[in-house]
Symmetry: C2
Subunit: 508 residues, 2 copies
Amino acid sequence: MAKKHEEVMELAKRRGFIWPSFEIYGGVAGFYDFGPLGSLLKNKIIQKWREFYVVREGFFEIDSPSIVPEEVLRASGHVDHFVDAMVECQKCGSAFRVVDLVLEQTGKGIEGMPKEEMDRFVKEHKARCPDCGGELGKIFDFNAMFRTAIGPGSQRVGYLRPETAQGIFIDFKRLQRYARGKLPFGVVQIGKGYRNEISPRQGIIRLREFTMAEAEVFFDPEDPRHPRFSEMAREQLRLWRAGDQIKGKEQLTEVTAEQAVERKVVCNELMAYYLALTNRFLLDLGIPSEVIRFREQTPEQRAHYSSETWDAEVSTERFGWVEVAGLAYRTDYDLSRHAQFSKEDMTIFSADKKRKVLCHVMEPSYGIDRPLYCLLEHSYVSEKRKYLRLKKELAPIEVGVFPLLNRDGMPEKAREVYESLRLKGFMAEYDDAGSIGRRYARADEIGVPYCVTTDHETLKQNDVTIRHRDTMKQIRVGIEKLPDVIKKLLNDEIEFDKAGKPIETTSK
Amino acid sequence: MAKKHEEVMELAKRRGFIWPSFEIYGGVAGFYDFGPLGSLLKNKIIQKWREFYVVREGFFEIDSPSIVPEEVLRASGHVDHFVDAMVECQKCGSAFRVVDLVLEQTGKGIEGMPKEEMDRFVKEHKARCPDCGGELGKIFDFNAMFRTAIGPGSQRVGYLRPETAQGIFIDFKRLQRYARGKLPFGVVQIGKGYRNEISPRQGIIRLREFTMAEAEVFFDPEDPRHPRFSEMAREQLRLWRAGDQIKGKEQLTEVTAEQAVERKVVCNELMAYYLALTNRFLLDLGIPSEVIRFREQTPEQRAHYSSETWDAEVSTERFGWVEVAGLAYRTDYDLSRHAQFSKEDMTIFSADKKRKVLCHVMEPSYGIDRPLYCLLEHSYVSEKRKYLRLKKELAPIEVGVFPLLNRDGMPEKAREVYESLRLKGFMAEYDDAGSIGRRYARADEIGVPYCVTTDHETLKQNDVTIRHRDTMKQIRVGIEKLPDVIKKLLNDEIEFDKAGKPIETTSK
């Protein structure tokens, strides 16, 4: 069942997408490196996210520190509420997150259950230490923020941010001036978030340090509309409502964004808009619609700051449904708390309404690492041959360049072609190891959409072959036209079959 | 003298380039936020750096965690050597970095001086507490890494990385396989670095959390050549040699990269190549050549891992010469230490030499925040009018869109133009506040290269004016051609004067 996961992770490690961190020192759970291909893919996912939120939505991007002094996180509620129920083995001393341990041993999800009930539940189900089988102690809260001290001594406590959002909220006074009082306006931040997991056991899915892309949309609570809602109104959504989950019903509510608002399935138009936008983003990455759903968190599961939360989930073979984004209606919780704790005025003088407004916040918050893993799993094809069916604009390497044979001037010519493509800004890779078939196979498994080969004819006619990853078809194109053709192919401006002279034989 | 700094920082704060972090809670020294314009500018600087190192040099980019377990940093020498000499006031308890305090009170640089000598120096010069005038205590070492604990309890010590480089070195086994044994090869990482400064007093220049872009070039010590050295051979360098500094000579050695190697001013060809590339990068950002120099660190100033270090420095009005990049010849120090501490084989089987090689490392390491500040200072023009003479490709906002007047359909048309430019991916800004003159002035001071205005003629002829920031000249261009013209202007593909119909009057 989880064979695909093993294959994808083997590929990811071998080819340089994802590596366990600190491997030569035995590794540390909850940390992964992105290798050369993983970094390229990650940067392309971030790029696409920016196209959605910075270019299209017109949101402002900021960049604030990952170290945050305690006052901020006391005001935000994280010092009190960003906790995990934890339990230690009384025999071997190993520590576990109760929710994970219970899920592993009973298959039951108890997220959000009060501590006393958890204690009873663990006893009733006779949960034991998964490492040594020993008896478990009493459940207690563990604050999941990484703690540090700013400056010498330990007088000034700081934490690594659990979310990038707080950096935006505390800049609200500056930001509303930047927005010149126009509502709604949105602010984004892309960067590291941290969660000091107790004992993470789910590889790339449960990280202690992760990259997140968060948007905070500030709006007048009396006017929770999106100016371009009509563009998203007909987007189909697959929603799993909290009420249905509580009743044990697996069935999804399938509605358009517009219907979700009309039928009050979601709290307001902004929520529906960003559910639809998130859906479109995931589809645009190349994740199939049938493995995407939105799950409403039950009141017990919701974070302290949210009055309604929908998790975008993607189904995976190994980890089941994985949360890749969360959409939270944070109300005026954060701005009110910071106003109270900092004694600063956190209202905005609305340019349209000519009055002071205490903004409410809609938050679409995305992970970057998890969608990346989901994308690898869902792009991985292993039928007759293995290849990654990544969308062209996401492929880490855009074009491979090979000599057909390592003689007769073919490698020199291929090198020339490779260098000229690099200098034009293409992410090209040169490969002359093994047979041509092995090189195509190596390019296929990392999703290179086009491979260029120099052969005997190249030296006579100054042209090359281009091979298409998905169809394995080939065409011949003159070298002087090559960069332009590759560019147009990558941008879907021309069809492959019409981009050059077709070749009948796919191998020589 | 430092008036320019004050003006630039006022502008940076008011318009959203740089904000003090945690401002509503009184701020914390050593932390700055990048606001919407600052983030755009920072991303563009990073983009340019990637063009140099990832696209042009063909280096591999990786992304590893900012939290690093202690073993790694013990092997790297940072647990022992990443320390600052510190002194506390015996009266008020304030803590200071000795080197900063001495520089402030005596004008003397004592970086690298042994602790005992520092103690004597401070006594002889009668240095006092800058806060209360109290007497200072004994000097001691303070480890400047932020410390934290990974997982519950404090059994596993971790630190926030002082450099991104270690994430690369410990991945060497994976990376050399990715490079298929071909030397030299380079690996880069862009991300946060941390230094828990004792009492930072230099604003944006001395940060506790900063963005860095580091490259590690692995090479055979018997062959320290760069395959494309000829491209850099004639680049002019202004070098301040360590020997001259020790003798108190201010004079610079002005040589080409080639001469620097021949005359043994630098240790090898790779060092000369990356000095030249760094020089070109800084020039390409728009920093004038006369304010760039390379200063060789004296043996006492060098980090524990380096046998030769050159700092790229930029002269500023407020902070004097500021280090913006460091080029260190790290020899085999890091790979040897990690081999020793991890017991792993850190050699590479060279594909060319057919033998095992313990690589040496050349490291070009860049800050991103400091060049950004230097760029603002050196782009700031305040003659008859104030404007930022940023290069077009670095300008955070590429095009401003204004209605000449807020009536007669001009705002609606301007909005349309603005939306269509955004959807085509241009970083456009709409502004209809105040007079047209005020709008141009606001665009000028953030460096917007082109401003588009809709006016009475627009409604009749469907064309707009484009105004050029530097010359204030205007041309008229048809709306349907506008995106194409703006794109070509931004890419320097057409001259402004020839891009449309010139307009005689610059204001109406």
